[in-house]
Symmetry: C2
Subunit: 317 residues, 2 copies
């Protein structure tokens, strides 16, 4: 089975060129770390269903480049200064080069996915490439919702809006990675669809875990500053739950702290049990993903997928 180091080697080959500063900036975030969950999921599904290793490595490299493209542009928009515990791309290279580095990751991702379709029948290849390009549009839609919601009064935000946002912002790319892995292995459309559903539920749970870490994670482990989500005015599930459980004076106090982006509100959110309640909801997505796995033919690859699911949700960074 191809390993993640094959994917990393492939990315380095695809991200070479002149001027040096542009390609250095495009490689930078990837080189500073990351869990590589999306390419790992793709490789595992592909292997579970007997796919061609060379094509899977290219597709996995393409997905990881697309992911990093969105992170670099998001960090500019959110004015985040650190990620993986080091300066973000725009802090290190300036905003202009960071925009271009993201653009190059996006175009090289599309190019690499086109290469990964070698050997597929032509209508299958076209379908894969249309989906791959559209996923990128969906992520931009999700990021737009995320930013739009930051200006929505807390009273008007609810779990339906939250789910619609995290689905686009985060879960579709996990879903796509799993689907591509299965699709390239020539899975039946019902089997590829199961892979997509697994990835979607894993992705929803992943984002909820992220939102919990954004409030109560250890900054020395997450690499993000304490309470950055509160300071950015991010609308997340723990906040929705906290506000729904509170009333009167206490609710006003929490609303007030949120509006002032006062990080001491985290204590109030924890105290009312909103972190625990978020974990229960997150667990529902986890269970849905888990139940898809039990429908797949048993193999060691299923254990790999189970381990990836678990590490996407039960994590400290």
């Amino acid at each position: 089975m191809p390993g993640i180091e094959d994917v990393e080697r492939e990315i380095k080959i695809v991200l070479r060129g002149e001027p040096e500063i542009l390609f250095d900036a495009a490689n930078y975030l990837i080189s500073t770390g990351g869990k590589r969950l999306r390419p790992r999921l793709l490789l595992s599904f592909n292997d579970a269903l007997g796919g061609n290793h060379e094509q899977a490595i290219k597709a996995a490299a393409s997905i990881e480049m697309l992911h990093n493209f969105t992170l670099i542009h998001d960090d500019i928009m959110d004015k985040d200064e650190t990620r993986h515990g080091v300066p973000t791309t725009h802090v290190k290279y300036g905003e202009a080069i960071a925009i271009l580095a993201g653009d190059v990751l996006q175009s090289q991702s599309q190019m690499e996915m086109a290469r990964a379709t070698e050997g597929l029948p032509k209508s299958k290849a076209r379908h894969l490439l249309e989906r791959h390009a559209y996923v990128s549009t969906e992520i931009a839609r999700g990021q737009t919702l995320d930013m739009t919601f930051e200006n929505l009064p807390y009273e008007k935000f609810n779990s339906k809006l939250y789910y619609s946002m995290i689905k686009l912002k985060t879960a579709v790319l996990f879903s796509h990675a799993c689907w591509v892995g299965a699709y390239l292995a020539d899975a039946s459309s019902s089997l590829a669809n199961k892979a997509a559903i697994f990835g979607l539920n894993l992705g929803m749970a992943f984002q909820m875990a992220d939102d919990i870490l954004g409030l109560v994670g250890d900054p020395s482990i997450t690499g993000k500053p304490v309470g950055s989500d509160v300071r950015n005015g991010k609308r997340t599930m723990p906040i929705i739950i906290a506000l729904s459980k509170l009333s009167g004076e206490k609710r006003l106090k929490v609303l007030n702290k949120l509006k002032k982006e006062d990080t001491s509100v985290i204590g109030d959110i924890v105290e009312i049990g909103a972190i625990n309640d978020t974990k229960l909801l997150m667990n529902q997505f986890y269970q849905k993903a888990e139940s898809v796995l039990s429908e797949l033919p048993k193999s060691t690859h299923i254990e790999d997928l189970r381990a990836l699911l678990s590490s996407s949700v039960v994590r400290e960074k």
Copy 2:
């Protein structure tokens, strides 16, 4: 023959979606004008060689979206506040939405080009899509050079660097548009190559015309502020020529004005004849493009291409 209005209709269909603000921002620059030279060139080459209209319209829409993606991101980087005589996308929608609007134009461009490959043999389709994605990387390389050169001492800038930059920044997309038009019409590779060479030379001449307009164009026609290239410290051919023709005191005076981004330097550049000399060099590219046309089978489409070539170079905006 399909017209540019078919391409504009197709773009509107491809750029629909929610949240509204994101797709409004993605449509905005296109809706404010533009000469549509690239899609026109694609359609003309395609028609000259007997291509399928429906596929050509999709490809032309894809190219125009890619072009507008690069303009929106470039305007952010260059801090340009007007284009086509109206506020740029980031001025109207804010920088974050403008970054995302560009991202969406880029991904929808890739998706639309994948759709345009319907009917092509699979290895031809893959080749087209790899090239289309890589063109986007090349334009980012060109924009990086453009910005890097802004910080280069004027003494170290020369025509070789200038040509390498404008080729990537501008000419490759014209070349690609012409090549795609021919390639989709199933042209022989020698004929498609001629189309690419025509487009490359047209593109070089186009950028030189742009650089002349950036100095001596009428702002009420170009829609760009007077002397914006001087104020942005852009390194262009008229400046290279002016500095090479001057010496001693006069040269120092011009260098000094350029460093201070003083737009009165335009008078000095005109006076020494650097605009005229740039036109002579531009004309060499024009002639090369023209000579490719004379090698193609005679038809009314060749006259269309000749008119497009002429309007790319002899223009006031």
